[in-house]
Symmetry: C2
Subunit: 263 residues, 2 copies
């Protein structure tokens, strides 16, 4: 698979739609917002929408489609959420049924798609601000854990907040906070800095998802709310059908990163 050079998200989505790109999307369309995808039947959409409203740190909603419409008109007019992500996961009653590169065969007139901001946006802002991110430098997935921080429930959806951890050089921790705080629609400021046990993480050397990354002398562990939270919560509720992006295979919007910045 050849590397796609930076160009407009529309062109990249077109490549993906034609099956020419099925790999993770990290690094594609630099400067444009990428998003987590959760698709649910309309019957579950109200509770999930409310869950996101009540838990904006882990669930920053940037788009909700009309029932049955695959077009995220607010963030990528003309795109088709059934074909424009490189890989999807289909769950029935909370169990993984298939991993596929398009979901036209699963589509129904009552499906509602939720797009949620993701950490790529704030990671780029951190790098631009001179805050190094070692998991990226080392080519690893970020480390993630369930925490003792409870989300506020909504109807059938409930569960703990999932966080990602990045080791940050201690002198740069304040900058890491202010830079990411500008992006509440991409998880925003950290939810915790320091002692992992304070948020229920027993062993910071063994993540529940992603790759381990040791915390070096002079670094502090910094924890951000993570987009795995809404996925975990959606699956835990075991609705008849849930479709999500496959990890790392995000939807690329037309929004420039700065469109999510609050100041």
């Amino acid at each position: 698979m050849e590397l796609i050079a930076p160009r407009h998200p529309r062109e990249i989505r077109e490549e993906i739609r034609r099956g020419k790109w099925t790999a993770p999307t990290a690094g594609l369309a630099p400067g444009y917002v990428q998003a987590n995808l959760v698709i649910l039947p309309e019957a579950d959409a109200y509770d999930f929408l409310l869950f996101c409203q009540r838990n904006p740190r882990p669930c920053p909603l940037i788009e909700v489609t009309d029932p049955g419409s695959p077009e995220p008109a607010g963030v990528a007019p003309g795109a088709d959420l059934r074909t424009d992500l490189p890989k999807y996961r289909v769950y029935r009653d909370g169990r993984l049924e298939a991993e596929v590169t398009e979901i036209a065969a699963y589509w129904r007139d009552d499906l509602v798609s939720f797009l949620l901001g993701c950490s790529f946006t704030f990671e780029r802002a951190l790098l631009d601000a001179g805050v190094p991110l070692r998991h990226i430098a080392e080519g690893k997935n970020v480390a993630m854990w369930r925490t003792s921080l409870a989300c506020r429930p909504a109807g059938r959806f409930h569960g703990p907040m999932v966080v990602s951890m990045r080791p940050i050089p201690a002198p740069l921790v304040p900058r890491a906070v202010t830079v990411t705080a500008r992006y509440p629609m991409a998880h925003g400021a950290p939810v915790h800095i320091g002692d992992p046990a304070a948020i229920g993480i027993r062993d910071v050397t063994r993540p529940e998802w992603g790759d381990p990354l040791p915390i070096l002398p002079g670094e502090a562990p910094v924890f951000w709310a993570c987009g795995v939270t809404p996925q975990a919560v959606a699956l835990e509720a075991k609705p008849p059908l849930v479709i999500t992006h496959s990890p790392g295979h995000m939807f690329i919007t037309d929004l420039p990163d700065h469109a999510l910045a609050v100041l």
Copy 2:
């Protein structure tokens, strides 16, 4: 009616609940967030929640209750939305039926309450930052208009954005922008500065709601999204039942103003 001295919102809500305060809430509980109220049957709640998600500038949601629960647990635990506002308006099929000081008689198990941030929060921030607000100094209501700016529709809810206008001394306009931009949950930065005709306002001397306020030499008209928008949109859809606060008679939350600041 005697003036209630500044104290905790809980105590003020208690006075209101006991019928001792039926006047507007401006100036009560300084430093605490006040909110617009819209109550709808569950059948209309999804579309309205989605409308707010799609139009966060005019509709900054700070709380949505569980169906049938009158307690806004996220922003004022223990409060009762049926009694804790000084005055309500009850609409049937889009027509005003009653203006009352409590709504226990109208309560149903399927009602959902939406609380939306209001301009009091950013007006306080403007005053604290040294930006004068002449409508307050002159004891007037802020001037409001429907605009040519369309809200993004959601289900049965659609309509134009309503804005409020404040004349700001030209040298202070940038400060007025940055100060209010910190409060996206209280309408945030202005949506327009300058020529009223550019957003469809024909006569800036004749507001559709509130009191006229001339723009003096050296002042620029600055327009912010207004909480009248969701009320107008809700009524325009003519649902069987809508209950709102009466203008100026807001719900006082336990949230300090700084809880809504993004940075």
